[in-house]
Amino acid sequence: MIIKGGVVYDPANGVLGEEMDICIDAGAVAEAAGGPTIDARGMLVLPGGVDAHSHIAGPKLNAGRIMRPDDGRIGTEPRRGLCRPCTGYTVPNSSAIGYRYARMGYTTVFEAATPIIESRHTHEELEAIPILDKGALTLFGSNWTVMECVGEKDLPKLSAYVAWGLRASRGYGVKIVNPGGGEAWGFGSNVKGLHDPVPEFNVTPAEIIHELARANERLCLPHSIHLHFNNLGKPGNYSTAIETLDLLKDIVPSRDRQAVHVTHMQFSAYGGTGWRDFESKAPEIADYYNKNDHATMDMGQIIFGSATTMTADGPLEYANARLLHQKWSNHDIELEESSGVVPLVYIRGSPVNAVQWAIGLELALLTEDPWKVLLTTDNPNGGPFVKYPEVIALLMSHKRREEEMAKLPELLSKRSVIGSIERELGWGEIAVMTRAAPAHVLGLKEKGHLGVGADGDVSIYEIDPREVDPGSDPALVERAFTQAKYTIKAGEVVSRDGEIAGIPQGRTFWTDANVPEEDMARLMASLKEKFEKYYSIQMSNYMVQEAYLSRPVAVRAGVEVAQ
């Protein structure tokens, strides 16, 4: 396939708005190719979109669907053409997730959290998502074995467990959510801060985070630790954010990437002592990022309207449900995690929601380097992924932001600086935040760019970046990004003008990390005991079997790779 004459933005390769051809041969970008030609003259050509943090599969998604038939009916689309029927807005069915991402030009999406013991479920749902390449991040932050290894200060054993847990869950990277809090929530409490010991385990969240980061680098994993901070969602929590980031300054990345990825930073950039004096601390966070290079973040932008919050942060969800008098689902997972699901509505008239809205944008606009900030809504926590084009328009147009601010409470100007920010992101910066940076942050070398050898994933938008001024015409930008002219996945057109044109089965990335045998042997002894005494299933039934990944891609890592 040859994509001819488009205006290409491929920031990873230093291409910023050049008119050039892209060739795809055997599913990958090539020097030359035959086959069909796509006329992309006057159109924006980008690498296929990459979402490094989205909730798209697994027990939490289904919990959301089951408790929200009201959401299910919103996105109803009948079976048509190649497409199976679709339902849902914030919690769509699996088919809809694949089609809707593809229509926007996205080709790779990573599920943000899977508990090891329920990963079979996550993979069943990932397999049911059409078109996309995907992976899942495995939860380790409140895991008994992790905490014991941390307590014993046994880094080799901890590394062995991380490697084993990734294999057991067929997971891609290390996700840490409110470390220690999930265990505390098992008896209905929480950890209050980084140095508050986890009940019964005598380790602190700080130790869990730091040691998992060391294990992550010892194993030379493609992705860094992927961290959801303690105290997330609470006024005044920005200090926890900065304290945690400081804690990780001594981590030496084993690969060319960050030492820590902080997810949905918006929910952790809060000032104030309560909801009454709640304010944005995004400037402080952005300033920290401007002065330090060991961390990346994603926005976790909120979208006004309906959302379904879902997180392994169980106590947070209980607090949300009580505060908002909402439906509440909770699911605690033996020896490993907690989790919760709460539907909510972000309302323009609410000063708190307005400040949250501002914080996400401020983080992206005040952080100078777009490679440090990924565009996300923490789908569907801040809002559904189908609203990404709205976020892009807001970032590219001051005018668009002012229009929105006019609908928000006046108090916003006292509690945030959003009104004073004139920066408008350019096409290249958006390409970084939605393509190049998420791929780089995840360590996916063949994603997020269009260099020779990259995956043949391309999105083509019917907008000419040489003609359109996004600052004055944000509506054009939003419309173009809402529906790609073409989305190409591994050289196959999968969406054209919003019509699904091909439904390939995507691949699933997971990380296969080797560790020295003696470390694994020591680990096995303690794991065996856990299965005999504590788990409710047998060890031989625990691991995700090969049958659950129809197109696995094992990324090699491990102690030997590191040496």
Binding site: R79, E124, G186, K327, N330, D332, Q538
Partner: protein, 434 residues
């Protein structure tokens, strides 16, 4: 040959520690399984009522035919129907469920599971309130208080108490039964009630009022209650709340006694609120005692495939969900369904008589390893391998935990998944008459 850690395919406990011994004859032992489980696992051979060949009803008699003939006949029946119903699914694996949803899409059917006659009301309750749950291992390791409401695990889920709940041991529960308080609330003194520390008998149909009263007491509003609530003294209820609040980790398990008594999903709705409110004081979770081994699985599969966990109507090409309108019993009670495919369930034994009569009036396709009362009214009978014994695949435990069922012996018959795929392909080859 001996196979360890086989997953039992009887009830929602999905015990995965069964030691199965096979020889040339088939399975000869199922060590570790309860009597219900072992009869299921051992009951695979001929002589257990297995159907040997596909059959089609001709002139009132079931006549043996080749598989393809049965597939084509089934496809024609479904394709000709204006309101076909695909019902059952509780005793097969998720791979078959996925095929079932595809078939429903293909023929514009209503697809529903046996949940409609067991924990369907629980699902509607969850739609109102959400569900505060946990895996069974949390109960095993942490629960010091267990409340069984309208359920009788001692007889219906024989290993539940030992493996997961009242008598299990774990990290923070080393004393097992001794360290726990077990309470049973029911309308009669069941075997489980006799094993409990405290049994509270309530009048049939008063669950909602009793739960409401408990919520009021919990909220500090006991003073507005009279001396008695539905025949139970206020003091007894105040004591109960006190016990619940003092627990370190409380687990409520409920069964059909709550879901199918007067009030139905409102009972569950209220119990879910009670659980959520108890979490303001201590840790509490709540769980339905699912019956068939994979009735939870069909709910999961339907939710990710179509957005809703049961009773989904695909007749207009898009999923529409509205139990009360789109559940199997609703369709049959109103004589709407004009054909039915019954798989991995026996509605002729479980449905009310008038609904079975409705089923008898329409063409019925049965997919099952065994002959049962539904066979008597079926027009096409397709024997299948026993999922979870002869076919591997996924099942979801009552707490939502997924396990992979093992294939213990080689099947003679095709799997449910294969049969459904063949019927769908046959249906696809038929011309559209609409």
């Amino acid at each position: 040959m001996i196979q360890e850690d086989v997953v039992c395919s009887f009830c929602g406990c999905l015990c995965d520690d069964i030691r199965v011994e096979t020889n040339d004859e088939g399975i000869v032992k199922a060590k570790g399984a309860c009597r219900l489980g072992s009869s299921k696992i051992l009951g695979h051979g001929p002589g257990h009522g297995r159907i040997s060949k596909p059959m089609i009803r001709q002139d009132g008699e079931l006549v043996e035919v080749e598989y393809q003939v049965a597939y084509d006949r089934a496809a024609r029946i479904l394709k000709a129907a204006k309101r076909p119903l695909l019902y059952g699914w509780a005793s097969t694996v998720c791979e078959a469920h996925e095929e079932g949803v595809l078939l429903a899409e293909e023929v514009g059917a209503v697809i529903d599971s046996t949940a409609t006659v067991c924990h369907g009301p629980s699902v509607i309750g969850v739609e109102e309130k959400g569900l505060a749950g946990a895996t069974l291992g949390q109960v095993k390791n942490r629960a010091d208080l267990i409340l069984f409401w309208g359920c009788n695990p001692a007889e219906a889920h024989p290993r539940h108490m030992r493996r997961y709940s009242s008598n299990s041991t774990g990290r923070f529960t080393p004393e097992g039964r001794k360290g726990r308080t077990v309470i049973v609330i029911d309308v009669r003194e069941t075997r489980t009630a006799r094993l409990a520390d405290r049994f509270i008998r309530i009048d049939p149909g008063t669950d909602y009022q009793v739960i409401s009263a408990l919520r009021l007491i919990l909220a500090g509003k006991a003073e507005i209650l009279g001396d008695e609530v539905c025949g139970i003294s206020k003091g007894k209820l105040v004591d109960l709340v006190d016990i619940l609040k003092k627990a370190r980790f409380g687990a409520i398990f409920f069964g059909l006694g709550l879901t199918h008594s007067r009030g139905r999903y409102k009972n569950i709705d209220c119990a879910l609120s009670l659980t959520a409110e108890l979490n303001a004081h201590t840790k509490f979770m709540i769980m339905p005692m699912r019956g068939h081994y994979n009735v939870a699985g069909i709910g999961q599969v339907m939710a990710w495939e179509g957005g809703y966990p049961m009773s989904v109507d695909y007749s207009r090409g898009a999923p529409y969900f509205n139990p009360g309108e789109t559940a199997a019993c609703d369709l049959l009670a109103r004589r709407e369904a004009d054909a039915a495919l019954i798989i991995a369930a026996d509605p002729a034994s479980n449905f009310p008589r008038s609904i079975v009569e409705a089923l008898a009036e329409i063409p019925v396709i049965q997919i099952d390893p065994y002959e049962n009362p539904t066979t008597l009214l079926a027009d096409v009978v397709i024997p299948c391998a026993i999922a979870g014994v002869e076919v591997e695949g996924t099942a979801y435990r009552m707490d939502g935990l997924p396990l992979r069922m093992r294939k213990v012996i080689e099947p003679v018959h095709p799997s449910d998944e294969e049969i459904l795929k063949e019927i769908r392909e046959s249906a696809r080859r038929l011309p559209d008459d609409h």
